[in-house]
């Protein structure tokens, strides 16, 4: 499903060039769960952003479902994000002015779906249907992240990308988050790519990619 070939990414910071990824090759199959680990600055988030079509590589090719993504326009990239990709962030990134339900609905909006029953159902998957009318500020961190999971999954995208989903949570809520991600993965058979610092979380995945200084240094299959 995902094929990265000799991907490099160079950021230009003022006059200095910062090489974040230097020749990454990676294949991820449909339905796989993959954790990306590595020290900070190793390029984990950059890989996730590239896979998520939020960014394009400096060189190399990225194929998503056989389509070469690095040649697409910004509008086409947005369309792929809307149709195929669900994002989960470390800082939850819910819109504070919207209720939990409206936040979940927002996850479908740009895919052209407006269906509050479906949004309610998604909140039910993460056990929050009774908090649908609450604003994010009225929810705990773990609950906010569950709303974010519902938002990412409500349109049933084939690819779920999670950027340190447990990074801002205590270990118990963190475990709950990982287990609901895995449970929903099993139910919906999506592809899950997760960046994490936390070895326990990573061990729920089928494969762990170790990244260092913009290169893959090790791969474990569990």
């Amino acid at each position: 499903m995902i094929r990265l070939q000799d991907i490099t990414k160079v950021y230009i910071m003022g006059k200095r060039e910062l090489e974040v990824l230097r020749g990454v090759n990676l294949n991820i199959r449909q339905g796989e769960t993959v954790a990306i680990m590595g020290p900070s600055g190793s390029g984990k988030t950059t890989i996730l952003n590239l896979i998520g079509c939020l960014d394009v590589p400096t060189s190399g090719s990225y194929y998503l479902d056989g389509r070469e993504v690095n040649r697409l326009s910004r509008g086409e990239l947005a369309q792929i994000r809307a149709q195929k990709i669900g994002f989960i962030f470390q800082t939850f990134n819910l819109l504070p002015q919207l209720s939990a339900l409206a936040n979940v609905e927002l996850g479908m909006r740009y895919a052209g779906i407006a269906d509050s029953r479906r949004a309610m159902e998604a909140l039910d998957w993460v056990g929050l249907s009774d908090r649908a009318r609450h604003r994010p500020s009225e929810l705990s961190g773990g609950e906010q992240q569950r709303v974010a999971i519902a938002r990412a999954l409500v349109k049933r995208p084939p690819l779920i990308l999670a950027d340190e989903p447990t990074g801002n949570l205590d270990s118990r809520s963190g475990e709950e988050i990982i287990s609901s991600l895995i449970t929903l993965h099993n139910e919906q058979n999506n592809t899950l790519v997760m960046v994490t610092h936390d070895a326990d979380s990573a061990h729920h995945c089928q494969r762990i990619i170790h990244l260092k200084d913009g290169q893959i240094v090790a791969e474990e299959t569990l």
Binding site: A78, F89, Y110, A111
Partner: protein, 410 residues
């Protein structure tokens, strides 16, 4: 929720989240639109009133006075030259087509005495057609009749000011007025018309022209014709005004035996021409007022842009989130543009209501106002236009944000 409603509901979310800020932005537009509507309605109302006063004289009036306008537009001896005559008037009546009535008149100022009171007023010698031409009505009694005219009867029709000066509290009909060496009896009182560009009949005494010629002044030209001060004419159809003016000009030139290159020794003004001039002037005034008010609308628009720019910066992260969820540039763009159009449109609508109320208050204080639909349409569409124009830059800025940087923004 329908799809086309989504930009609207998103815009509404944005407005609702920042109630105070949105209301202040709207207020700027409200004041601008209300100012445009109020000032333009005052301009329109005033010019409509002026025009209706002129038209009350009869919009198909053509006025001939002796003497010519000088080159610089200053009236040189107009009215004092003694070359327009009763016989000219008769010739016009007989020979010029599309003329419905011809009213020659002569006037003189005279001291009037009635009972113990006296006043100074202009005495106008008129023919019975004068009533029709100048659209006069009598509130009491009757107007001068053809037989009064033929008999040079010693009768008079008086204006309301004269009536108040000489006969306050007394029924004026049948009362005697002394003017100079003769005495006339009042046979009618004219309805008040207020001041107008053609002078007022309120402080005049109308007598048959024949009576005036016999009693106060009798001037003859060298050829023995009877001199008058002016000849007023009504034209059957306003569209014929220009033709009639041309015909009268050539008729009078031949009667006055003017050589081909010589200037006219009379002046013809049609009411249509006067209305045109007044309309032009009042439109200029209205547009000037509108432009002044437009400046405050512009300032309101800049306020909208300012707020939208702040809003884009403040919601950078939200924009990043929406982009990550798959929003395309045009989604973001239309979200912010809808929001600014929403702000300025609601400002525009409230402004229309406010301007309408204010112009009602103004008109209840005596200044005529006229809120016409085109002003409302103009003000509302200008306010939407302002929202779109001044929302454009902020919306572009929002749409062009890099999603990764936007997501990282704190």
């Amino acid at each position: 929720m329908k799809r086309w409603l989504e930009p609207l509901s998103t815009a509404w979310e944005g407005v609702r989240t920042h109630k105070l800020r949105s209301s202040l932005t709207i207020l700027g537009i409200v004041i601008g639109v209300a100012a445009v509507i109020t000032l333009m309605s005052i301009g329109r109302g005033t010019s409509a009133e002026i025009l209706s006063r002129i038209e009350s004289l009869g919009s198909n009036l053509v006025l001939i006075t002796p003497g010519a306008f000088s080159e610089r537009g200053v009236m040189s001896a107009a009215g004092s030259a003694a070359n327009l005559t009763l016989e000219d008037a008769a010739a016009i009546s007989e020979q010029v087509p599309h003329v419905t009535a011809v009213a020659p008149s002569s006037s003189a100022r005279s001291q009037l005495i009635a009972g113990g009171k006296n006043t100074n007023a202009s005495v106008i010698g008129v023919t019975p057609e004068y009533q029709q031409v100048y659209n006069l009505k009598t509130t009491e009694g009757a107007f001068i009749s053809p037989s009064n005219y033929q008999d040079a009867a010693n009768v008079a029709v008086i204006g309301t000011t004269v009536k108040d000066d000489l006969f306050s509290g007394v029924d004026p009909i049948g009362q005697q007025i002394r003017m100079g060496n003769s005495v006339v009896s009042v046979m009618g009182v004219l309805e008040s018309k207020g001041a107008s560009m053609m002078g007022s009949t309120d402080d005049a005494v109308l007598v048959p022209l024949t009576t005036l010629q016999q009693t106060i002044s009798q001037r003859l030209t060298s050829t023995g014709e009877h001199v008058v001060n002016s000849v007023a004419i009504t034209v059957s159809d306003q569209k014929q005004s220009d033709d009639v003016v041309n015909e009268i000009t050539s008729l009078l030139r031949s009667r006055h035996q003017l050589a081909a290159g010589a200037a006219d020794d009379f002046t013809i003004r049609s009411m249509e021409e006067l209305i045109g001039t007044v309309t032009e002037m009042s439109n200029t005034m209205t547009n000037l007022l509108g432009a002044i008010a437009g400046i405050s609308l512009l300032v309101g628009g800049i306020g909208v842009m300012n707020i939208m720019l702040v809003s884009v910066v403040e919601r950078t992260r939200e924009i990043g989130i929406r982009k990550a969820l798959g929003a395309r540039e045009r989604n973001i763009w239309s979200q912010f543009l809808t929001e600014s159009a929403f702000l300025s449109l609601s400002g525009g609508l409230i402004g229309v209501a406010a301007g309408w109320i204010v112009s009602h208050i103004v008109s209840s204080r005596g200044t005529p106002t006229l809120v016409s639909p085109d002003i409302i349409v103009l003000a509302v569409s200008v306010s939407i236009g302002i929202g779109l124009a001044f929302g454009f830059l902020p919306a572009r800025r929002a749409a062009n944000l890099n999603p990764i940087e936007a997501l990282r923004y704190e």
